[in-house]
């Protein structure tokens, strides 16, 4: 398959009446989703959408969301999906930056997003007194044909622009072609061994590349996707995993921190659960170990990637995680090559720490309308991920940290991840995040933010004693902040930028 929407069309042709999506009490077959996306494609074309035009989507995960995604692609459009809780001013920024011609909202998001100045298709559920200016109701789909639209699309044409927030400046749009997404999807299907019998529980949002891989991989093989947008109540998600007999689950580190520390996950048997994947940042090895211990019959795939790589770059085979490679992000996925290089692009020797660089058919086309940023990250030797790491003798890659997050303490480069991992290994802390604070003497000192496992019994002295035995003195946090929860990005990752801003604010007002 060379085009992303062919995943849906192919599964529809093979088994039209098989369940593609489950959401709440609703079931949708491949045929139903395909017909709905065809209608959406015809509606977009009727609204004047041309090949290459961008369509902004602001929806929670749903059947409408899935039909919109494939419908945009069938019409030759480029999907631009953003967080469903985006504010009107954020939506305006993305419309302006991407040049989107049409926007698609859900009934829920339309209630909050007023005054968008482009035509807006609105999903079911929005009632009267709609304050939007150019409103196209979902019911307009009823009169549209449900046959495949006849738009010729090439595999190198753009399928999506995915915005990613860097540590500085406005979000950048990562341009991904059909080929980028198709090749990455095929690689993931291959190493996870997915088949039409697989059924994934999707709690990650589809606008996030990791969440989107859940959809595309399962639609490629004719599997099913269970949508649950209520991970705020993890116990309900766990019960649904049992009820719906899911075979797979995917999460970021905070997903697993919540499951292991604040839910019934460790007490619940999920007999059908074949595998679990973790990506979206490095998970502390202590948490990984506990996860393996509690669900020993389920394969745990530790994975690594980047939006700029369509999602995925490496995975750690579960048997090596258990036997001898805990802490590694694994080996390159099929069709991807990973090298470790210095800033000039020279490849480094084994075990030398340098920039993690990647080549392969999944690497982005560049940043949308930003040649300067593109030239910084797309080098002749591949994508510069911005992460630091090394390779061992067997080619397994170990992540050291984000280049921009590395601390410089008294001339020593220190990875916040190393400190965070030890804090979590204490077993006293639910989540931790370490950032740097400017210091006259040492140039920078570590500052630790922690959420204690049990606020009532937690003693900071115990944690400090644990660190004292395991980390050199300059790596001991100079400041500690106890929090009830960590600020999170929409993807569930800890939002270090918010912590840094809070720290700077405190320093300036002290």
């Amino acid at each position: 398959m060379h085009l992303v929407h062919e995943f849906l069309e192919s599964s529809c042709a093979t088994h039209p009446e098989k369940t593609a999506l489950l959401h709440g009490g609703q079931f949708y077959t491949f045929s139903q989703i395909n017909r709905l996306s065809n209608k959406l494609a015809h509606l977009l074309s009727a609204q004047g959408l041309k090949k290459g035009d961008r369509v902004l989507v602001i929806m929670e995960n749903s059947s409408e969301n899935v039909a919109s995604y494939y419908g945009i692609l069938k019409a030759g459009g480029v999907s631009v999906e953003i967080h469903e809780r985006s504010t009107p001013s954020e939506a305006s920024y993305y419309i302006q930056n991407s040049g989107a011609k049409i926007c698609i909202l859900s009934g829920l998001t339309a209630k909050r997003l007023h005054g968008l100045d482009i035509p807006v298709i609105i999903g079911a559920g929005l009632h009267t007194d709609d304050p939007l200016k150019k409103h196209i109701p979902w019911s307009d789909l009823d009169s549209m044909p449900d046959r495949d639209p006849s738009v010729t699309i090439e595999e190198n044409e753009l399928a999506a622009i995915v915005y990613t927030s860097g540590s500085t400046g406005a979000p950048k749009g990562v341009m991904l072609s059909h080929k980028n997404l198709c090749s990455n999807t095929a690689s993931i299907v291959s190493y996870l061994g997915l088949t039409e019998t697989d059924r994934i529980m999707a709690v990650l949002p589809f606008y996030y590349v990791y969440g989107k891989t859940l959809l595309n991989t399962h639609f490629m093989v004719g599997g099913s996707v269970v949508i649950n947008n209520r991970f705020a109540f993890p116990n309900a998600v766990i019960k649904e995993m049992v009820d719906k007999e899911v075979t797979g689950f995917a999460g970021v580190p905070s997903t697993f921190a919540i499951l292991m520390n604040r839910s019934i996950f460790t007490k619940t048997a999920i007999p059908t659960l074949r595998y679990v994947t973790q990506a979206g940042g490095a998970m502390a090895p202590a948490l990984t170990k506990r996860l393996i211990e509690h669900h020993g019959n389920t394969s745990l795939f530790i994975m690594y990637g980047a939006t700029e790589a369509s999602a995925r770059l490496t995975y750690l085979p579960p048997e090596r995680l258990v036997s001898d490679k805990l802490g590694s992000i694994g080996i390159p996925i099929p069709d991807v090559q990973i090298t470790i290089r210095d800033d000039a692009g020279k490849e480094l020797k084994l075990n030398e720490v340098g920039n993690i660089c990647a080549t392969g058919p999944n690497i982005m086309q560049g940043y949308w309308q930003d040649l300067e940023e593109t030239s910084k990250y797309l080098k002749p030797w591949g994508l510069v991920t911005g992460d630091l790491g090394h390779k061992d003798e067997e080619g397994f890659i170990f992540l050291t940290g984000r280049k921009k997050e590395m601390l410089k303490i008294g001339g020593e480069r220190v990875s916040p991840k190393e400190i965070e991992d030890v804090i979590i290994a204490s077993g006293l802390v639910h989540e931790s995040s370490v950032i740097g604070r400017p210091d006259e003497l040492l140039s920078e000192v570590p500052v630790a933010y922690i959420v204690p496992m049990d606020e009532k019994t937690f003693k900071l002295e115990d944690l400090k004693a644990f660190l004292a035995e395991r980390l050199a003195g300059h790596k001991h946090p100079a400041y500690w902040y106890l929090r009830k929860a960590m600020p999170k990005k929409p993807s569930g990752k800890i939002d270090k930028e918010t912590l840094k801003n809070e720290l700077l604010h405190e320093m300036h007002t002290a």
């Binding site: 993890p234 604040r262 606020e455």
Partner: protein
């Protein structure tokens, strides 16, 4: 009873919707569906309930029936002997 509602409402206003004029707070509205709380928010709320009312919330009790709306939270607190 109304005092408990106002304490919870104030906590939610201060912690989750400060500065957001687009959000209204109704005792029967879902705090999740309306985008007021996410998974982190639920845990913050639970910590607040535990420390304010000196109760213990078990993992098994982190369910929508107990925490989805302000009225659900109120009923849950009553089962814990808070009045």
């Amino acid at each position: 009873m109304s005092e408990i509602i106002s304490v919870i409402t104030e906590f939610i206003r201060e912690n989750f919707i400060a500065g957001r004029s687009d959000v209204t707070l109704d005792p029967d509205q879902s705090l999740i569906e309306s985008g007021i709380m996410d998974s982190t928010g639920v845990l913050e709320l639970v910590e607040f309930l535990e420390s304010t009312y000196v109760i213990r919330v078990e993992d098994e009790e982190l369910v929508p029936e107990n925490l989805e709306t302000i009225n659900n939270i109120l009923k849950f607190l009553q089962t814990k002997g808070v009045s």
